[in-house]
């Protein structure tokens, strides 16, 4: 199947492309079965709290290309996330020893009259102004609910300006209301990059694309040993570098949820092979991922050595950690594939995972490969998981679940969730760097962070005694999934 169509300015949303869902209750095994048999159905909620949207995810991928500028064609409120991403961008610059500079983010600042008379002129002016101010090597225009509804022909404006300014001006369609799965925004950004920036390969290189957020550079030594050069995309790659990702020898995913579209697009359009097996989390997962990497890069023997060395280095340590964490329980909340990965690592460390609240579920990825399913791997390698909840950051469900499952540690990758653990007196660990737990050594790195969190219970214990909770006693006694599945009287939105 090919889900990639570069002729269309818009990417097809995940619900349609992959059949993704945002509501499910049950056990993991069942979810995997349904996914693989094509019988998965979404369960709508009759009560819901705020979630993310595609626009934020698209911006997240486009906003750290150092020589590009991003214009959000929207009323000013949609730029609310610029501040946070700018902070992340600056932290990343520091970690990479780059000179500090703020992101070049702009809003076309649509007003009332634009929604009546159309905002294309406003957008055109914005593009011209941005070009004159910062001379970027490319400009991305991200759309918004407002521009989508008023029907601004953004594609025509960007095409026209591309010609006028002689730099790529690329539209990225990411209206929040169009998809319930906010990760569609990743796909929108990648679609824009592949469509507007990436050039057909002239020659093959020994570079390997690593599709990631802004994580630590943990792949350097591995790839160097295999005779390849890492190219971390998209954050901190320049437009010039992105133009050539079609020439890479392979693409690595750290998280299928993030990179599914880019990995598949590069393979389907430009023949860059994607490492399709689920990313290397946990011992067995890492073994298999490395072998696939060795096969694709034609380095099988060296990879076997790496595997043997990794086992020798890590397994004895792992035994100690397992001893330490014996009998401990955990609860995980994270985006889909990365959540699955965290579950693998936790169970590798000897934790019992008592449940999970995963933001959405993709029954299949764009590469269509069954080996890519991290959740299936979890179930296969470590057994089933009860209380496996697909829940797009619905705190009310999470609190209810946490109170019931009472884990020893609560693990999250996204903001807005962990505080509920703290309020309930549950030590909570939030890790932004998704690469931290990758590979053999990642398991140990993660173990240290967990141990540290388990050592620091004073703050949450004390806080729990004095904290407030906005949910009613009634709700906390209900079944956590009571509002899931549309069997309540309230109509879902």
């Amino acid at each position: 199947m090919s889900s990639v169509n570069l002729k269309s300015p818009e990417v097809v949303i995940r619900e349609i492309r992959l059949g993704s869902i945002t509501g499910f209750q049950g056990n993991a095994e069942n979810l995997v079965k349904k996914s693989h048999s094509g019988t998965l159905e979404d369960a709508p909620r009759s009560f819901s709290q705020c979630t993310g949207c595609s626009s934020g995810q698209a911006f997240c991928q486009l906003c750290m290309i150092p020589d590009a500028a991003v214009i959000n064609h929207a009323p000013i409120g949609c730029m609310g996330d610029a501040n946070g991403f700018n902070f992340v961008y600056r932290v990343g610059q520091m970690e990479r020893r780059l000179p500090a500079s703020s992101g070049r983010y702009f809003s076309s600042n649509i007003g009332e009259s634009d929604t009546i008379f159309g905002g294309t002129e406003t957008l055109r002016n914005a593009i011209q102004t941005v070009f004159e101010r910062v001379y970027p090597h490319a400009i991305f225009v991200t759309t918004s609910c407002a521009s989508g509804i008023t029907g601004d022909d953004v594609e025509s404006v960007t095409n026209e300006m591309t010609e006028k300014l002689k730099i790529p001006v690329v539209a990225c369609f990411c209206e929040g209301f169009k998809s319930k799965i906010w990760t569609t925004g990743f796909d929108s950004a990648y679609h824009a990059i592949v469509r507007g920036i990436v050039k057909p390969p002239k020659q093959k290189t020994n570079r390997v694309n690593i599709i990631n957020f802004w994580g630590s550079h943990i792949f350097d030594s591995l790839l160097h040993r295999l005779g390849y050069e890492p190219q971390y995309v998209v954050a901190f790659s320049t437009i010039g570098e992105l133009e050539h990702i079609s020439e890479a020898a392979a693409s690595i995913q750290v998280c299928q949820t993030l990179g599914t579209y880019l990995g598949a697009a590069l393979e389907q359009v430009y023949g860059v092979p994607e490492i399709k097996t689920s990313p290397g989390y946990g011992i067995a997962g890492t073994d298999e991922w490395l072998r696939e990497l060795g096969t694709v890069l034609d380095r099988r023997d060296e990879v076997e050595k790496i595997i043997a060395e990794g086992h020798e280095r890590v397994l004895p340590e792992l035994v100690k950690w397992r001893e330490r964490f014996k009998g401990k329980t955990a609860f995980v909340t994270a985006g889909a594939a990365h959540g699955h990965a965290l579950i693998a690592v936790l169970r590798e460390l000897g934790f019992e995972v008592k449940g999970a609240a995963i933001f959405h579920h993709d029954p299949v990825y764009d590469n269509g490969c069954a080996q890519a399913d991290m959740l299936a791997r979890d179930v296969k390698d470590y057994g089933d998981i009860q209380n496996f909840n697909v829940c797009n950051k619905q705190a009310f469900e999470l609190v209810n679940l946490l109170r019931r499952t009472k884990p020893d540690i609560f693990i999250a990758r996204h903001g807005g969730m962990t505080v509920w653990g703290a309020k309930l007196g549950i030590p909570t660990l939030l890790i932004g760097d998704e690469q931290l737990s990758f590979g053999y050594d990642g398991i140990l790195r993660y173990a240290e962070r967990i141990a540290e969190t388990l050592d620091n219970t004073e703050f949450v214990t004390n806080l729990a005694k004095h904290s407030t909770m906005p949910y009613t006693k009634w709700w906390l006694e209900q079944d956590p999934y009571a509002f899931l599945g549309g069997d309540m009287i309230v109509e879902s939105y």
Binding site: F87, V88, Y89, R90, V91, G92, Q93, M94, A100, G415, G416, M417, T418, V419, G421, A422, K423, T428, L430, I431, G432, D433, R445, E448, E452, D455, N456, T457, E458, F459, V460, N462, L463, H466, S467, T468
Partner: protein, 454 residues
């Protein structure tokens, strides 16, 4: 001096000091300046007063000289002549002219090294003025006698002995004299003493705080004998004065080694004071309840950050400072923030008889956390100790002084300047103790950590 063995056996010790963390006994001129309306007169070399002031009160939080401190302080400025022939006469004329030029409710004469070596009879000179009913006191504080912590107690006792005087009338129930942080040397003393007074008042006590803007000046010192009891809130500083008062005025004292930081510690502190003073329980509890309500709302809001900040928060900490702040911070960080103590270095040279007691406090920081207190004043050794401390895999946070800045950089960690010298802090009424101070402390710690992110 105790020789704590570190991972670095190579660290050699003489008694020399690099990177001063206290000054000399005459630095207790600041104890005088901290009493509203009192002015010190120093009998010493020409640079002594300036050295003490510009370092303790200026390049330490930039606190300033106040009304009668700083460059106001009359000084005999010994010259060769007085060294040879004695400085008593010179002191006499200085006091006489000070009375003409300066408005003060109390003068305190402090001696420096020179008169203490050449043997000037300072009590005799000052005694002449005392006989005329002039409020003036003499204290022997030559620099080689000890540091300004010792000088602080010397000066307090001199004022009580020579100025406050005898008293045998009944005590005033519910009144307390507070002996806690050392003014000026502790960079945050103004805000801290204000908070201490506020919370003690809150549970129903009448408080003689004795220093700073919350003190009514020497009039308040005159009230000292009437108080029901003395409160010593520090590991050792003030005990000697409290014992002196116990003997002189038959006043009992309560010793609470930990200056409270954060709701948990502060509420416990207030309950113990309340019990000792025999205060009405419901009044004490009502105040605690109100304070905790306010405190924990802020803490709850803060917990979003504490739980969710992505870019790395420190896990281990070191404290380098005087025993009072060192212990107070260590207990707060361990018990209420859940940080891990890695190195605790006490720099105020506590008298030998208190050291085991202090070590024991650190052994029992929390029910499940024990730390080791090390006593060290030489900056070189302190740096070496920190440099060879295992802070785990994350950059540490060091609660120390300006001297630790370079080391913190080297360790890629952060430094919070909490004691002398704090040359990179501008301090007005900021406090780090009690309920309100703890919130400022949290702000300071995490603003520092976050500012170094990007």
């Amino acid at each position: 001096m105790e020789r704590t063995v570190t991972t670095q056996a190579a660290v050699k010790k003489s008694s020399s000091i690099a990177q001063v963390r206290y000054v000399c006994a005459m630095g207790a001129s600041h104890t005088v300046s901290a009493i509203p309306g009192a002015i010190p007169i120093v009998h010493c070399g020409p640079g002594c007063a300036d050295k003490q002031f510009i370092n303790v009160a200026f390049y330490n939080g930039f606190q300033g000289g106040g009304y009668g401190g700083g460059a106001v302080v009359p000084s005999t400025n010994f010259s060769e002549k007085e060294v040879v022939f004695g400085g008593a006469e010179r002191l006499h004329e200085l006091i006489e002219s000070s009375l003409k030029i300066l408005n003060a409710d109390l003068f305190v004469v402090l001696t420096g090294c020179i008169p203490d070596i050449v043997g000037d009879n300072v009590p005799a000179v000052v005694g002449e003025f005392q006989k005329q009913g002039i409020p003036i006191v003499a204290a022997e504080t030559g620099g080689f006698h000890g540091n300004n912590f010792i000088g602080h107690e010397t000066v307090m006792q001199a004022i009580i002995d020579q100025y406050v005087g005898d008293y045998s009338d009944p005590k005033e129930q519910g009144t307390v004299n507070v002996f806690s942080l050392i003014p000026y040397q502790n960079t945050f003393w103004r805000g801290d003493l204000a908070e201490l007074k506020r919370i003690l008042k809150g549970i129903g006590l009448k408080v003689n705080i004795l220093f700073g803007s919350g003190c009514a000046g020497v009039r308040e010192w005159k009230e000292i004998p009437k108080a029901q009891f003395n409160l010593v809130a520090s590991p050792w500083l003030g005990i000697s004065t409290a014992k002196y008062l116990e003997e002189k005025y038959n006043q009992p004292f309560l010793h609470l080694p930990t200056i409270p930081i954060g709701a948990k510690e502060t509420s416990a502190f207030l309950r113990r004071v309340g019990d000792f003073a025999g205060l009405k329980k419901n009044r004490v509890e009502k105040f605690i309840q109100d304070e905790e309500d306010a405190y924990y709302r802020y803490l709850e809001d803060f917990s979003d950050f504490y739980a969710e900040y992505w870019w790395g928060l420190p896990a281990t900490f070191a404290t380098v400072g005087d025993s009072a702040y060192n212990l107070a911070l260590s207990r707060f960080l361990v018990n209420q923030l859940g940080l891990i103590p890695a190195k605790q270095i006490i720099t105020d040279n506590p008298p030998e008889q208190y050291r085991e007691f202090i070590r024991n406090e650190y052994r029992h920081l929390a029910t499940d956390v024990s730390a080791k207190a090390e006593f060290e004043e030489d900056g070189y050794v302190i740096n070496e100790k920190l440099r060879h401390t295992d802070f785990g895999h994350k950059p540490p946070i060091i609660f120390g002084t300006t001297w630790e800045r370079d080391l913190a950089k080297e360790l890629k960690g952060s430094v919070i300047e909490v004691g002398f010298p704090a040359s990179y802090e501008v301090v007005l009424n900021r406090s780090y103790i009690g309920y309100r101070g703890a919130l400022s402390l949290l702000e300071k710690i995490f603003t520092t950590v976050v500012s170094s992110s990007a």
